[in-house]
Amino acid sequence: MAEGVLEIEDSNFEAEVLQSEKPVLVDFWAPWCGPCRAIAPVVEELAGTFGDKIKFTKCNVDDNPVAPGKFGIKSIPTLILFNGGDIVDKVIGIVAKSKLEEMLNKV
């Protein structure tokens, strides 16, 4: 399955993100965060375009405190691109789709 954004949790973060064979984008978000709601459709659109080569995931920081804590997240939305368990790039806040495309083209 190439399209869609997979909901991930603390329990499967290691397996789905850090151990993933494909590069992974994680969208750290929360229901109370207006800008997170605003950027979600953009991430979904990008999943349609880049879904073949990158796994798109989202992590609710309210329900899953461990992963955001590990990566020092104190501001959302934060989008982190992982490859082979390492951070390739990170974007904090709402940014233009073109900037996200630029990031996704790094892997």
Partner: protein
Amino acid sequence: MKKVDYDLVIIGGGPAGLTAGLYAARARLNVILLEKVVPGGQVVATDWIENYPGFPEGISGPDLVQKMTAQVQKFDLNIETNAAISMDLSAAIKKITLSDRVITTHAIIIASGAFPKKLGVPGEDTFYGKGVSACATCDGPFFKDRVVAAVGGGDTAVQESLFLTKFAKKVYLIHRRDQLRAEAILQERALANEKIEFLWDSVLTGIQGLTDVEKISVQNLKTGDTKEIAVDGCFIWVGILPNSEFLPEDVELDQYGFIKVDANMQTSVAGVYAAGDVRSTPLRQIATAVGDAAIAVFSAEHYLQNVKV
């Protein structure tokens, strides 16, 4: 002669741009709205709005944006995610360079809004996203039972500081004057809130920490004394700057870079209008932005009737 792509191009999808889009779509103009990120503008980061009429209980910023967007979609407004890079306004038919192509239009409404100003103090950039923020609705809940500082004294600073008290155990509100500029009702609430401690006549001079914000330096302007305060976060609301980098020199700006307009929202260039936070105005509210936009479309329609013969 080559066909002109549009009657009207609206730049920006905040309350001003969406209102301009609503009026233009209903006027059956050949219009496109360009939004470089997502519709909503600064309202997306506003937790609660109580001074926009029609919502007696108040409404959240994202919910208001959703309603405004749904309303323009009902009238089939053409919205494109794209950024204006530059403009050529030297001829009656204006050219706008986008990220992927050049479009032509008779009229333009600039509703590109503004963004939060930085203070320019040491540590502000280093700790952005690590405790430094301009968005309480994005980051406030990360400071549950923590201590935070907020800088500013206007509506945004006071409204958002009140929002922070829902999470933080203490909010230091740092303001360079001895009284707030915010709406009286917001001042009353803030002054009555036990979690807010005011640091009057004071300025933030630095933000320090190892990996995340740990403390701030605050100078009292009257005594000249500087003290350090331990905080986990620092929110900065000291005004805004216009999104006007794509404008050519023909468009006259005020001394702060906001666009000068006349009573018809026309800029110094015929057929080019400005609305909302990007224009030079004494008050920047959702209510004023939508009013500006309605006038701008009305003016643009008159202009189009004269040029499109």
